[in-house]
Symmetry: C2
Subunit: 406 residues, 2 copies
């Protein structure tokens, strides 16, 4: 038994937030049915793609799901999708979409088919207008403080952090609503706006209070960690290391490993600072980085790593994606997180399972990225209890797709 | 009634992941008890701080929680903390920590006090070694592809994205485990490593497959959106706009709003590309950006915004944190997400509630950042059912703190 065995969710979504939410729940054992149009959703060809045009992104974000393809322009196709979304079952009747919740996806219409439906609608902005990770991130301030100090241009970060956090927030919200339904018997509509996810975090982390209470806003500090000490250093063999001394313990181990203790004491006296205070470490960040630079320049990565590890200092190695995949043991089958999985039409890739270990439940192996429509027949037969004749008729009429190819 | 009314969690954690997990659940109505040492936890002074040294970060990440302070070096204090963590109640007995789960925080020891305890242990790495957001992020590849193309140095992003995602993943895991306990009567230990969160995402988004299947890794593309079209542009009045054309619909609205349709057709003919394909838009990104630049340079922000909005093109405005707070209506009390909240010792700041709207439940107003130990007495009296005499004795012995100041 896996932790979410028995739970069933349906998804009509594209790109990251919605698909990531359900992929994460599928990795915990939930049955997730993703419904797409016959030609695939908006994200079906999203880059990166293989030489043959298969989307590696789509495979990754939909692994472990059941893929159903339906002609969603046809009224009969829409009714079929509505029937899957609202199919009976104590542990079913959960639905997520990032499409406008209007027309055949209107909550009240779906609720008429299943009174206790739980539906999560992911929006761009709270008012229903469009927003993407890129257009939210620029607005909430982070590109202005990312990158080289003095550069007047904003630096976008590449990780779609808001989409991912929005998806996982939706997963939390769906489980909270399912708990509420079990206790009180009622379903409901959840609304989650991508921009609200980012705005809330800006508040949670103190950036808004910094403007309102302190009267100033965060500046651009390059690769320095704000409010403590942390920076990147190049080693003799041209590798780069990020060291972090946020807590006092981390600061002490860094000083011990690199032997800068006496120089730090001299610096403290000269500048009237106390480096046991994180704020003072931040104030002296450039001087501290200068103290540490010769130590790293004089050592290879292996030498620096050995000394840092001997004192349990906190550091990380900068790696490209290739180096991560080819050189980091955490990114391998040996780690326990990954296994090689053969994704049809793509090939074998190192694929992650859920990053949560539940000690009382079996871990589910990493999921397979399905063919578009691979599970159409299975879902029509098992969830909607259609006969094989009815399923064949839907194929003949072109209302459903997939499965035949699978 | 709020969505998580009645649920009770205890937290012994610091910094972002653990505190963010429980703060998010507190915002949904769960009772969250954060236990700290008498002098405050490792993050009690984390920057940004007020002129008087109060941490805006701590207030933000602990708002809506009950703060209990205990001498956690004293055996009697540890027993008290264990009693709070394992206190009875059908909806209680959930615990989160990012400290080593050894000694008095050993799962088996706690389980002996409450057989169905659910405990989430957030780790740095799966093997228990230390890792922070900064030391994970450098290793998983993103700094190598963030920032100006051609720059050989890595660019750290400023958002602690992995911490936040780890926290929300823990929240999802806790609710999944609580569901399992309700169904099957058993608790369990959850383990979640920060580096696994990042490694799994690198797999989910196709970066690992890109290396293994395509034999190459992502390059640095500056502020271009990978695999489609999106870039930043400066307006006549010196503002910056991020435009995104990921879907075909977004591309069409962008062309219409800016009138580049004919030039795009000419470019397609000249280069043998079809800009209705997202990959071709990416291939022609520099030429497309050049086509668009004069349009933005010729317009003020207001003029560009009016034209883009008229066609419902997808765009966002770059803002500093100050501009966000002072100029963006989404970051105001009018939005529905925020309200001004007076945090004791800090003052009134615009504070977010949960970004999830549950239509069947009341929203909880934004929480207040507590004084350290503000709720010590309340928790001892109500959760542990101690007498006021017993509580007074604990204060006299210096085993507990707070409350008196509150």
């Amino acid at each position: 038994m896996t932790i979410l065995s028995g739970l069933r969710l349906t998804e009509c979504a594209a790109f990251i937030a919605g698909p990531f939410a359900t992929m994460s729940l599928a990795a915990l054992g939930a049955e997730v049915i993703r419904i797409d149009p016959l030609e695939g959703g908006l994200d079906y060809h999203r880059w990166p793609v293989t030489a043959a045009g298969r989307s590696l992104y789509w495979a990754g974000l939909n692994k472990g799901k059941k893929s159903v393809s339906i002609d969603l322009r046809a009224p009969e196709g829409r009714e079929l999708a509505q029937a899957i979304i609202t199919a009976p079952g104590e542990d079913a009747g959960l639905f997520i979409t990032n499409f406008p919740a209007t027309g055949w996806l209107d909550f009240e219409k779906l609720k008429a088919l299943r009174g206790d439906l739980i539906m999560a609608n992911i929006l761009g902005n709270r008012d229903g207008s469009t927003a993407l990770d890129y257009t939210v991130n620029c607005a909430v301030g982070f590109p202005a403080v990312t990158g080289t100090p003095g550069d007047p241009k904003p630096t976008n970060h590449v990780l779609p952090a808001w989409d991912l956090l929005c998806g996982m927030t939706a997963a939390t919200g769906l489980l909270a609503a399912e708990r509420h339904r079990r206790k009180h018997g009622v379903g409901q509509l959840l609304k989650i706006a991508l921009s609200d996810i980012a705005l809330a975090v800006v508040g949670d982390l103190g950036f808004i209070a910094e403007v309102q209470i302190n009267g100033d806003a965060r500046e651009r500090h390059g690769n320095h960690i704000f409010g403590a000490f942390g920076h990147d250093f190049e080693t003799r063999d041209g590798r780069r290391i990020m060291v972090a001394a946020v807590s006092l313990g981390q600061w002490k181990t860094l000083c011990k490993a690199t032997g800068i203790g006496e120089a730090v004491t001299a610096l403290e006296r000269a500048q009237g600072l106390d480096m046991s205070r994180e704020g003072d470490r931040f104030a002296a960040r450039d001087a501290l980085a200068q103290l540490l630079t010769p130590w790293f320049v004089a050592r290879t990565l292996a030498e620096a790593a050995a000394s840092l590890d001997a004192e349990k200092a906190c550091w990380g190695l900068y790696q490209s994606f290739s180096q991560l995949v080819n050189e980091d043991p955490r990114c391998s089958s040996a780690s326990g997180l990954f296994a090689p999985v053969d994704h049809p039409g793509i090939g074998a890739t190192l694929t992650p399972r859920s990053p949560i270990d539940f000690t009382a439940c079996e871990p589910l192996p990493p999921g397979v990225g399905p063919h578009l429509g691979q599970h159409t027949d299975e879902v029509l037969l098992n969830v909607l209890k259609l006969s094989s004749g009815q399923v064949a008729a839907l194929h003949d009429k072109g209302i459903v797709g997939g499965s035949v190819r699978a």
